[in-house]
Amino acid sequence: MPTRRDFVTRCLGAVWLAAPRQPAPPHPTPRPGVTGARVLTRAQLGETPALAPLFDQVRAVPQVVDGIRCNCGCAELPGYYSLLSCFEGDAMVRHCAVCQGQARLAVRLHREGKTLDQIRDAVDARFG
């Protein structure tokens, strides 16, 4: 039976390794009035209901998550704006440990009272 580490490594292999690591572009500016209305709901999560709490947490802080660049390579996808985009539409975060990790870290640090710049710095240190 594959271990958790195997699983995480495979997810990374599919996304992270596919993207050559170039100098990261700057973090996006949160869009004025952005909401979490397009973040998928539990009912829309299909085969990944275990991620519902994370989606709920992100939906509650769109102004934070919208100010973070995703480092897994999905920033190159059409229609992408910020880490918030990973929770909308096709919600590729469902299959990407890096997207999930960045969002959990952002939510956790936001709850600890960190500013957006501090959260961005922590995300870059871990995932940049």
Partner: protein, 297 residues
């Protein structure tokens, strides 16, 4: 359909033909590209691939004269692009795209030339200039290769080898990248982290936590760590510092060389009490808390 509409439709159709189809042509030297990324630096060779077509021996013949400046390719000069500054054959080369030239010789070293102007037709080799990178390279006998080939046969954590093969000759040049992380840590900076820790491990949310020992030590200029009993996959590993108190494991191969830094797979974050690292969190890339540790008294 009126003639004007027919003409517009024909023009639109021409625009819609895929570029590859529009340029389809049988060529003696088909274009190719190979690239290799090492620690975030990407090397890309773009070149045309002539065939020997019976012209053996090739070098020192009418095909490639001894002593002439020649692009190892055909038509438009072969190019080498570096996404970041790197070392080519021991010489520092700035980020950019260069045309590649060689001066083959009947005996002694050949000269490899990187010219800062990339778009040059093979009939107009550049004059020698101070802006060029010129290296002595060794041409060695090799098994016969019909089609001129560039490849990256070796890759390490710190570099790769760019090799050229054609006919019975091979030229290989080492490429070294700027490391993105420093594995070594001054002893004074590593010392506060060294010690024995009580580690509570939990690989999955459903797993019952297990308490084992974790050990951090300074060895060979590097802060290292291991679980006791040792993790069979990670064994004793380097703790590679990215930020103050934030480390990622660097895994060693059997020769004692680091072959992978597990970033962002596994982050080790120390928390200080009274200025001294006192506790530790280990998180996977999905931020799952896989372990916590406290320094043993």
């Amino acid at each position: 359909m009126p003639m004007r509409h027919l003409a517009l439709a024909a023009a639109a159709a021409a625009c819609c033909v895929p570029a590859t189809a529009a340029r389809a042509q049988i060529r003696a030297s088909e274009r190719a590209a190979v690239s290799q990324t090492v620690d975030g630096t990407t090397f890309t060779v773009d070149y045309a691939r002539p065939r020997v077509r019976g012209r053996d021996p090739l070098f020192g013949s009418r095909a490639v004269h001894w002593g002439e400046t020649w692009t190892p390719g055909a038509n438009w000069a072969t190019t080498l692009e570096l996404s970041r500054a790197a070392t080519v054959g021991g010489r520092k080369v700035a980020k950019g795209k260069y045309s590649v030239w060689m001066v083959p010789r009947a005996s002694g070293n050949w000269t490899l030339v990187l010219d800062p102007k990339p778009d040059i037709f093979h009939m107009s080799p550049p004059d020698s200039s101070a802006a060029q990178v010129r290296l002595a390279v060794r041409a060695e006998p090799a098994p016969f290769t019909e089609v001129l080939t560039f490849e990256f046969p070796e890759v390490t954590t710190g570099g790769t080898t760019l090799a050229f093969r054609w006919a019975r000759t091979r030229v290989a040049v080492p490429l070294q990248v700027e490391p993105s992380l420093a594995v070594e840590l001054p002893e004074a900076e590593a010392a506060p982290y060294v010690g024995r820790w009580t580690y509570v491990k939990r690989d999955t949310p459903d797993e019952k936590p297990v308490t084992i020992e974790f050990r951090t030590l300074y060895e060979g200029g590097t802060l290292k760590a291991e679980w006791l009993p040792a993790d069979p996959y990670m064994q004793r590993f380097a703790l590679v510092r990215v930020r103050p108190d934030l480390f990622f494991p660097g895994l060693y191969d059997k020769d004692g060389k680091i072959y992978e830094v597990m970033r962002p797979d596994m982050a080790f974050t120390f928390t200080r009490v009274g200025g001294r690292p006192d506790s530790l969190e280990v998180r996977y890339s999905d931020d799952f808390l896989a372990g916590t540790a406290r320094r043993k008294p």
